[in-house]
């Protein structure tokens, strides 16, 4: 019942805070959010899962009972964690707590509603990562949209209404598409499954149980392809992959900073997590056969996203687009089908969550003071707010893949894994990897460019606010994040990577043994 307790804590907290008096809401929410954080930490320490949740691994904190009988299929309440989902749960709880802390300064109206929604969001996110039955998962997956809509729409910036509705409808369409794709598979499986539990479906699909749909109207091959594409697009919107990314900058820029932190930190990971769980776990053959386009999409996302970031002048937009770029690496790692590739992709989910969270938090702190995010409106902030700027520099270098920080670890794993991958004949993946790696140059480019213009040089600020140092509770989250990032980068194995690779193993071993053995190569 641990996961249930976790979700329950958040939802109850949401209610409590929602009806709490406005002035105490912030502190109450922060205090309350420590509970799930502590619980998740406890779970992390007692984590005893082995193998992959969908491929017959033994789950941690498993819980399953029948919920609804949907005609021939049983919907079960099925929760459990494996090495892939555990880190993401920890990520969610940690980032939520920090986001709440960083919201104290900027959020000054309808606080109780704000923090209530944030806790509701946290509960839904944990549900997404914990659920192992399709419908349960899907309920949480969609439930995430509701608080986001309000959080962006009510507390956002000037164009918040546009951004909120765009995010809302865009991602909703995606959900519908992926739902249709997935149910194509379900009905294609016919009687070979009796419930919508993801492990059962994954096993059946990998066992080749897929039959034709609608009396031969659609043969299994087409069905696989259609379903894969539908789900890829559906999840890709959340990730987001180019060209389905345009909701992201708007949502990020308009959202209040704490929400940007959660949006970039956790919500994007829902997409990649789902891609891993569904597309790449359930339909490996299809994924391999589509390796070239997928890898191409990844590379394009990396380079194109980075170039877009280079073209921006709004600090938040820069970070937003760089998320597109970083998520491209994840896709690249996933399609590699090597333990370093997929493991690195999962590790990147966590590390990018922390790093982008840090970046947004820093930008937010600056915005609280200057009320602007335009690079051109300020210069030489380093003098006025040294701690914030220090954190921002640290975050920027973490983003740029500085060794001994989480970003480098994740990206290096992905590169190694992708480079040696054999999913594309003739070492095509090596070329793709080399191309994608150029992102690390561009990312350094635009981040250093922005920092030089806005943080360094003689102090100048066009705006009628007094630039003062940030409050302690604004700095605290930054410090925590930096510490965690360095810890993950220095000890990846002992923190998350071992459990990740353990969960990823079954995915790749069956897939390409020789690639996993590090001997996957082109020339005979």
């Amino acid at each position: 019942m641990m996961i249930e307790a976790l979700v329950g804590l958040c939802l109850v907290g949401a209610l409590v805070v929602f009806f709490a008096p406005d002035e105490y809401a912030g502190k109450l929410a922060f205090g309350w959010s420590l509970l799930p954080l502590a619980l998740s930490a406890l779970m992390y320490l007692n984590f005893d899962g082995r193998g992959n949740a969908l491929l017959g691994g033994s789950l941690a904190f498993e819980e399953q009972f029948t919920w609804i009988a949907l005609g021939p299929y049983e919907l079960t309440w099925f929760m459990g964690l494996d090495g892939i989902s555990m880190p993401l749960v920890v990520l969610s709880t940690l980032l939520t707590t920090l986001a709440i802390l960083s919201a104290w300064t900027p959020i000054d109206e309808r606080r109780n509603q704000f923090y209530g929604l944030v806790l509701f969001l946290e509960g839904s996110l944990i549900g997404v990562f914990g659920a192992l039955d399709f419908f349960v998962w899907f309920v949480f997956w969609e439930a995430v949209l509701i608080p986001m809509y309000f959080l962006v729409g009510i507390w956002g910036g000037a164009r918040r209404k546009y951004a909120a509705i765009k995010f809302f409808v865009y991602t909703n369409i995606a959900s519908l598409v992926l739902f249709i794709g997935f149910f194509g598979l379900v009905f294609g499986l016919g009687d070979s499954i009796s419930s919508l539990a993801l492990p059962e479906i994954a096993t059946a699909l990998r066992a080749g149980e897929l039959g034709p749909l609608a009396g031969g109207l659609i043969v299994p091959e087409q069905l696989r392809l259609l379903a894969f594409v539908a789900m890829f697009i559906g999840f890709g919107v959340k990730v987001p992959i180019v060209p389905f990314h345009t909701w992201l900058p708007d949502a990020h820029v308009e959202a209040p900073t704490p929400i940007s932190v959660l949006l970039a930190g956790v919500l994007l990971k829902m997409g990649t997590y789902a891609l891993l769980r569904f597309n790449f776990t359930m339909l490996p053959e299809t994924a391999r056969s589509l390796a070239v386009p997928i890898a191409a999409v990844a590379v394009i996302s990396v380079i194109y996203g980075a170039l877009l970031a280079l073209g921006q002048s709004d600090l938040k937009r820069i970070v937003a687009y760089s998320s597109v770029s970083s998520m491209g690496y994840v896709i690249l790692g996933l399609v590699a089908y090597t333990s370093y590739g997929i493991g690195g992709a999962t590790f990147q989910m966590v590390s990018h969550g922390l790093i982008s969270g840090l970046m947004f938090a820093c930008v937010g702190v600056i915005y609280n003071v200057t009320h602007t995010r335009e690079v051109g409106d300020m210069a030489g902030l380093a003098d006025e707010m040294p701690l914030t700027v220090g954190a921002l520099v640290a975050g920027a270098f973490a983003y740029a893949g500085l060794p001994l920080m989480a970003g480098f670890a994740a990206e290096f794993f992905i590169f190694v894994g992708a480079f040696q991958s054999t999913v594309i004949a003739g070492n095509g993946m090596a070329v793709m990897t080399a191309l994608a790696m150029f992102g690390i140059v561009i990312v350094a480019g635009y981040l250093l460019w922005a920092m030089q213009r806005s943080l360094f040089g003689p102090f100048r600020f066009d705006g009628d606010y007094e630039v003062t140092r940030a409050a302690r509770h604004d700095i605290a989250p930054l410090v925590v994040l930096i510490v965690v990032i360095i810890a993950l980068g220095t000890f990846p194995n002992d923190t998350f990577f071992r459990m990740i690779t353990d969960a990823v193993g079954p995915l790749v071993d069956g897939a390409t043994a020789e690639a996993a053995l590090g001997t996957g190569g082109g020339s005979p």
């Binding site: 919920w67 609804i68 009988a69 949907l70 005609g71 021939p72 919907l75 419908f135 899907f138 309920v139 949480f140 969609e142 439930a143 949209l145 509701i146 809509y149 309000f150 729409g153 009510i154 918040r160 209404k161 909120a164 509705i165 809302f168 409808v169 909703n172 369409i173 519908l176 598409v177 739902f179 249709i180 149910f183 194509g184 379900v186 009905f187 749909l213 609608a214 009396g215 109207l217 659609i218 259609l226």
Partner: protein
Amino acid sequence: MIPLQQTPTLAPDWLALTPALLLGVFALLLFVFDSIDPDESNDGLLAGLATVGSVSAAVVAGVFLLLGIGAGDGVSLYGGQLVVDGMALFFMLIFTSVASLVCLGSIDYLEGHDDIAGYYSLVLLATTGMAMMAASNSLATIFVSLELLSLPSYGLVAYLKNNKGSVEAGMKYFLVGALSSAVFAYGISLIYGVTGSLLLSEVAGALQGGEVLTDLGGIFGVGVLMVAGGFAFKTASVPFHFWAPEAYEGAPAPVSAFLSSASKAAGFVVAFRVFIVAFPIESVAGTIDWVLLFQVLAVVTMTLGNFAAATQENVKRMLAYSSVGHAGYVLIGLAALTGQGNGEIVLGAGMIHLLVYGFMNTGAFLFVALVEYWGVGRTFEDYNGLATKAPIACVAMTVFMFSLAGLPIGGGFLSKYYLLAGAVGAGVWWLALVAAVNSALSLFYYSRVVKAMWIEEPNGNLDRIDVRGYPTGLYAAVVIAAIATVVLLPAIGIFSGVAFEAASAVLQIAP
């Protein structure tokens, strides 16, 4: 919910009709009361009486349903003219619960109107008609009970005699309704001509083998299309939907709720029964492929409804169009009976959607009634900042809107996705995709209401709320509807089981 092993039988069979009978009795009771004491002093009593009547009927229907009375082939009455099976009870439950909410909500809405008794008795009579429709197993009973529903409805829509909108709406509803019933009757006559019977089972029997269709196929086809037209009118489906936007907008809001939820469901239950039982697709496909027909109707209906709703300024009219759109969704229940996939999923999904819809849509219209009661205004702009004044009601409305849009905050989520899944399972991807696009669009316009209530700033028209205060009855109705909607998300299992049982029973599929 797993039905009991051996279905309990009732001493006299006709007791199975208790819900309908209760409704009728209470309707007459209202007349009696009113004739005994025709002054308006006891509105509350009348309203209470009506509410008690519908609630008791609801309770009975629910109990019967959960007891599994009439599970399987159902209790057949009067030589098969009526049959009380799972589907019938399921829909009776929908009608009666909607009626209960409407009665409850009407107490405050009708403050200071005369002839309250007439209103409530009409509501109850209409509900009786619906109940009978749910149980009808012969074109004759269907026709009669359908009219028993229609005629009171006309009256209800035009109930506000001095309100131009209400009267105009009543006029349009009536005229279109009269036309449709004429078409319907003519269609029945043709089918009778071809098959020589009005009993659904016998009609099906006459069609067996299909030699009648070889030479009379044309007549039969025309008949089927006309009958379909009659149902299209009740369910507000294209092309017989034209009355709906006006009627829902012009009618008193509780009546709009009643019509858009219950009356629509009533249309669907007969459509389900007639087309599945009387015109088995495998024997009539060659002559008239009504699955294809409903596929066309579904696409057109949902598209027209949603797209027209997207650009409305008036919340009530937006809901009216969206109700047309939902008719389109439920039509998938018939449109996906391609024989491939498993029919009971789509059909059951349609039934479940109507159940949930009964609560969320009724709730939404009742919220509109609440706003009309306050006299705040009808456009989206008038709703601005409503949450600051009436947070609880606005939370409820948010639940309705998001549930209608298919977000997992209410049962609407599950039922809508059941429908999509069913469509996919039946191999009509394109239908599911159209539904998906529409659903996304609907999210846009539903969230406009939410946006107005929560995000926009009030524009100074809300102080009227303080003038009229917070009406207990309406609030109760809205809140109950909201709770029911939310509870139906986790608790849908209670009904989904029954629904799938009933659907498979109707489809003659061994459960």
